[in-house]
C-alpha cells in the first residue's frame, strides 16, 4: 500500500497534465510551449539555423506532440518524458530540414553527425500519409472559412464550450445555435473537399 501511494502522486500530476492538453487548456499549452522553446532555439542556432528556423521547426514539433497526445500515440510517464519527446521531435525535424534539398547545397554533411536518427513515433505508413493529407485539407479549409463560422466552430471544438454557453454568447436560443453550427460544418466539409 505504501508503495502504491508513492507511485500514485506523480502519476496523477502527469495524468492531469495530459488531460489538460487534451482539452486544449490554453494556459497549460502556453506554459508547455514557453518552457521548452529556448532549448530548441539554442540547438538550431548552434547548428546553422536562424531564429526564424527555430520558431518554425518548434511550432511544427509542438503541433505534432499535441496531436500524438490527443490520439494516444504518445503517453508520457512523467513531465520530463514529455519535454524530452518534444525536444527529440524538434531535433529530428531540424535534422530533416538540414538533409533536405533546400539546404543540402550549402552544408557539409559531416556537420550532421551530431544527430541521432530514431523517432519511431513519426514513421508514417501509407494510410497515415493519406489521413495526414486529409487533415491538412481540413485545416486549410478551416483557415479559409468565414469569420462567423470560424469563431463558432472554434468555441465548440477547440474551447469545448457547451451549447448553452455558446448560445448565450451569441444571444440565440439553443436550436438556432445548433442549426448554425450544422450549416458551418457543411460549409467546412464542402471547402475541405475542394482542397482535395
Amino acid at each position: 500500500m505504501r508503495n502504491l501511494k508513492i507511485i500514485h502522486s506523480p502519476n496523477r500530476a502527469i495524468n492531469q497534465l495530459i488531460e489538460a492538453i487534451k482539452i486544449n487548456d490554453t494556459h497549460v499549452l502556453k506554459e508547455l510551449y514557453q518552457n521548452n522553446y529556448r532549448k530548441i532555439e539554442i540547438l538550431v542556432l548552434k547548428n546553422s539555423g536562424t531564429i526564424d528556423h527555430a520558431k518554425d521547426i518548434y511550432q511544427d514539433a509542438f503541433l505534432a506532440v499535441w496531436q500524438n497526445i490527443k490520439q494516444n500515440k504518445f503517453q508520457p510517464q512523467n513531465e520530463t518524458a514529455l519535454n524530452g519527446y518534444l525536444y527529440t521531435i524538434a531535433k529530428n525535424k531540424w535534422m530533416d530540414f538540414l538533409r533536405s534539398k533546400e539546404y543540402k547545397k550549402t552544408v557539409v554533411t559531416s556537420k550532421l553527425n551530431n544527430f541521432s536518427i530514431k523517432d519511431t513515433h513519426l514513421d508514417l505508413k501509407d494510410d497515415d500519409i493519406l489521413k495526414e493529407n486529409r487533415l491538412q485539407n481540413v485545416m486549410q479549409a478551416f483557415k479559409d472559412l468565414g469569420l462567423p463560422c470560424r469563431s463558432l466552430l472554434m468555441k465548440f471544438y477547440f474551447e469545448k464550450k457547451s451549447m448553452n454557453t455558446i448560445a448565450e454568447e451569441l444571444q440565440l436560443d439553443a436550436a438556432s445555435t445548433r442549426n448554425k453550427k450544422y450549416r458551418c460544418m457543411q460549409k467546412l466539409r464542402k471547402l475541405a473537399l475542394k482542397e482535395h
Binding site: 497549460v28 514557453q34 496531436q67
Partner: protein
C-alpha cells in the same frame, strides 16, 4: 471526403456524440454494429473525426504565435532559483540598505510607521511556476498574474479555490500578499493573520513579517511590533529597532 451523401443535422449530431463518447450503452452497440457492416458509414464517421480534429489543430496552430510573443527571456534561470535563496539575497541587500540609510539619516529623519513601511516593503516574489508542480493549474496560472503585478486578476482566480480549501496556508498567504502588494492592506490583514495561526510552518515566518508591515501601514505600531517580533527574518529586527527610536 465524402460529400455526395448529404448528412442531416441529426446524423451529424449522432456521430459527434459517438466521437465524444456520449452514446448510451444501447446506442453504442447499434452504432458499432453499423460501423462493422457499412463501410460507407465508417468512412463518413472517419471524415467527421478528421473534420473535428482539423478544426482543433488549425485553431491551436493559429495561437502559437501568441504563445511565442511573450516567452520570458530569463525562463531557464528563473525556474531554477529556489525561493529561499532569492529571499536571502533580498534580505542581505535590504539589510545593507537599512544600515546605510540609518547611518546617514540617523539624526535628521524621524520616521512615521507609514514611511517605515514604504522603506522596507517589497512584495513577496511569488513561487516559481514550473509545470512539474502544477497539481493545480489555476493556482499557478494566477501566480503568473501575480508575478506580472496583475494582483487583482490573481486574487480573482485564487478566491474560488479558497472556497474549497479555506484553510490552505499557501492560498491564504498569497491572497494576502496580493492585496498588500496592490495597496489594500486592510484586506490583506485577515488573510495573513490566518496564516500565522495555522500549524503549517512554510509561510508562517513570512506571514508574520508581512502582517507586521501591513499593521505598520495602517498605523498600528503595537500590533506591527508584536508580529514582527515573531518573524525571524533579519529585516524585522531592523524595522523593530527603527520603530524604537
Amino acid at each position: 471526403m465524402d460529400l455526395d451523401k448529404n448528412m442531416t443535422q441529426e446524423e451529424l449530431a449522432h456521430i459527434e456524440r459517438y466521437i465524444n463518447n456520449n452514446l448510451t450503452f444501447e446506442e453504442l452497440s447499434i452504432f458499432e454494429e453499423k460501423l462493422k457492416n457499412n463501410p460507407d458509414f465508417k468512412n463518413q464517421v472517419e471524415d467527421i473525426k478528421t473534420l473535428l480534429f482539423g478544426i482543433e489543430k488549425q485553431a491551436l496552430k493559429e495561437q502559437l504565435d501568441t504563445f511565442h510573443k511573450d516567452i520570458p527571456i530569463e525562463v531557464i534561470e528563473d525556474k531554477k532559483q529556489p525561493k529561499f535563496r532569492f529571499l536571502n539575497f533580498k534580505k542581505t541587500a535590504v539589510a545593507a540598505a537599512v544600515i546605510i540609510a540609518l547611518g546617514s539619516f540617523w539624526y535628521t529623519n524621524r520616521s512615521t510607521p507609514k514611511s517605515v513601511f514604504a522603506k522596507h516593503y517589497t512584495p513577496d516574489p511569488g513561487l516559481p511556476t514550473t509545470m512539474s508542480s502544477s497539481d493545480n493549474f489555476i493556482f499557478y496560472d494566477a501566480m503568473v498574474n501575480y508575478k506580472r503585478k496583475d494582483y487583482l486578476t490573481a486574487i480573482s482566480k485564487w478566491q474560488p479555490l479558497l472556497l474549497t480549501k479555506p484553510n490552505n496556508d499557501t492560498l491564504n498567504y498569497f491572497i494576502g500578499s496580493a492585496y498588500l502588494a496592490d495597496g489594500k492592506e486592510k484586506e490583506a490583514i485577515p488573510y495573513l493573520k490566518k496564516v500565522t495561526l495555522f500549524k503549517e510552518e512554510t509561510f508562517k515566518n513570512d506571514a508574520f513579517y508581512y502582517l507586521g508591515l501591513a499593521y505598520l501601514k495602517v498605523n498600528n505600531v503595537e500590533l506591527a511590533k508584536k508580529n514582527l517580533n515573531f518573524s525571524t527574518i533579519d529585516n524585522s529586527k531592523d524595522i523593530l529597532s527603527e520603530l524604537e527610536d
